[in-house]
């Protein structure tokens, strides 16, 4: 599994518990220090510094990709999704969480 824009590893940590010892969670973040911080805090096993639009991994390297509350920083979604598609194995799943503009003013 690849956790894109992992930040301090709040998603990668629980994900590691879910996939268990047989699985592998790789965390990626563009920040200079956040990948190292995430590892030092023990939330992340493997962290990589890099941009989500140009992920330094081979084609079809992951079965699952997630990106949590970082989609709004993507300059070109089609480019980014093309890159995520490249990274996923066949029938692999991508999960995106994002805040949506409220449908009414009161909310």
């Amino acid at each position: 599994m690849l956790d894109l824009a992992c930040g301090t590893g709040l998603v990668s940590g629980p994900a590691s518990q879910i996939v268990g010892p047989q699985g592998c969670v790789v965390s990626l973040d563009a920040g200079l220090n956040t990948p190292r911080d995430a590892v030092e805090k023990g939330r992340v096993d493997r962290a990589v510094q890099g941009r989500c639009e140009q992920v330094p991994f081979a084609d079809s390297a992951f079965e699952f990709l997630c990106k949590v509350f970082a989609l709004r920083r993507v300059a070109d979604m089609r480019d980014a999704f093309g890159e995520y598609h490249r990274l996923l194995k066949l029938r692999g799943t991508i999960l995106l969480l994002e805040i949506t503009p409220p449908s009414c003013k009161l909310s």
Binding site: R78, F81, I94, L95
Partner: protein
């Protein structure tokens, strides 16, 4: 309400809970970007042409969206990508257009009829995503040459 909670309230609560003024600045920046959050329609429309299938959106509390999609078979993904960029109708001009085009030619506006095969479509350089390069080359040239 949502804006009030996230923009002024959350950074202040973060400052109090972490006792770190940098945390407040960070949260202010983070929630400030919410003004520019991507509309769900844009996200969904970008996922499909990128080759994802079974694109779904699940909404929580009117403001939180979960998007889930699956990487389908390469041919299906290619077709999905093509169909998103071309006009789909029952045109009979399809075969003529495909026959006239050359392998590797960029065809963005062909009309796709109901009887088009994936082999036909994969002859053409319709998708620019690098992930499809192998499929483009494997589409028809090797069969004809072989």
């Amino acid at each position: 309400m949502f804006k009030f909670y996230l923009k002024p309230a959350t950074p202040k609560l973060t400052r109090v809970s972490t006792l770190n003024h940098h945390a407040r600045s960070l949260m202010s920046h983070f929630w400030g970007t919410l003004e520019y959050c991507a509309p769900s329609k844009m996200i969904l429309e970008a996922l499909r042409p990128s080759g994802f299938t079974k694109v779904r959106r699940h909404i929580q509390v009117d403001n939180f969206s979960e998007y889930r999609a699956v990487k389908g078979r390469a041919a299906a993904a290619l077709l999905s990508s093509i169909l998103s960029r071309v006009r789909v109708d029952n045109s009979i001009q399809l075969d003529q257009q495909l026959a006239a085009a050359k392998v590797g030619q960029e065809v963005e506006h062909v009309r796709v009829g109901p009887k088009v095969s994936l082999q036909q479509l994969s002859r053409f350089k319709v998708v620019t995503c690098p992930a499809y390069i192998g499929l483009q080359q494997a589409g028809g040239r090797s069969k004809r040459e072989g």
